[in-house]
Point group: C2
Chain length 110, copies 2
DNA sequence: TTGACATGATACCTTTTGGTATCTATTAAA
DNA sequence: TTTAATAGATACCAAAAGGTATCATGTCAA
């Protein structure tokens, strides 16, 4: 792994470490949103949400496009690649029992 | 997702957010190790490594067993389940192009 | 052009995090 | 039974993280 790739992975892992940011990603999985729209879902100031969006952008997990005076935040699924790549190192350890557990967890999620 | 599951996921994501801890997991993927053995691979005190191991244990990513006066740290692959489960929420977004990218990343990793 | 709206930027505060230094407890061996 | 090795616990420190408040900037509309 190159140094740049390692940094990218670090930014991505860091972005995923905060529960608010993970919730934001789920929101953006439903539809693109402005900062104001994202902020409506959280009990914090827009400035705080903006900081989270910046971290998510640094992690490559979202992209932002400007439309007039609004800025639209969109999920970027490719941003997950560094994490998936890192996790694959452990593929040998994931047996059928673990995959079953993973599926069970998935079914319990909203 | 229950509150307990959410907490477990948080502890796991937090454990993965630090590059030293991700390196420790890779080390333990090769073989089980004592704290002293893990410490040999890093330029920091055993106390610092011990803290990282505690965070990894809180995240469910390693288990510890006592043998005489040594404590053996071992990778626990089941600890990845909350992360894999969370990531699966985005499965719909992972198209062939992304999977190809993921494979490319994997090939470049040591 | 004025005014309202959507956002960005900065300063500041508190808590958490990653680290060291130091002390204590337990276990194996001479 | 000393003595050395392995590890846990605690206090402490600097830096980073998450948050608020405030001000500046750009854009649309009357």
């Amino acid at each position: 792994m190159t140094a740049a790739q390692a940094d990218a992975a670090q930014n991505t892992f860091r972005a995923l470490a905060d529960p608010t940011r993970r919730d934001i990603l789920r929101l953006l999985g439903n539809r693109d949103m402005t900062i104001a729209e994202v902020s409506d879902s959280f009990d914090m100031t827009r400035a705080a949400v903006k900081k989270h969006l910046t971290v998510l952008s640094d992690g490559g997990l979202i992209t932002v496009r400007t439309e007039g005076r609004t800025r639209i935040n969109a999920l970027d699924p490719q941003g997950f690649a560094p994490v998936l790549g890192w996790l694959e190192y452990f593929d040998d350890f994931w047996d059928d029992r673990l995959l079953a557990l993973k599926s069970a967890l998935e079914r319990n999620q909203p």
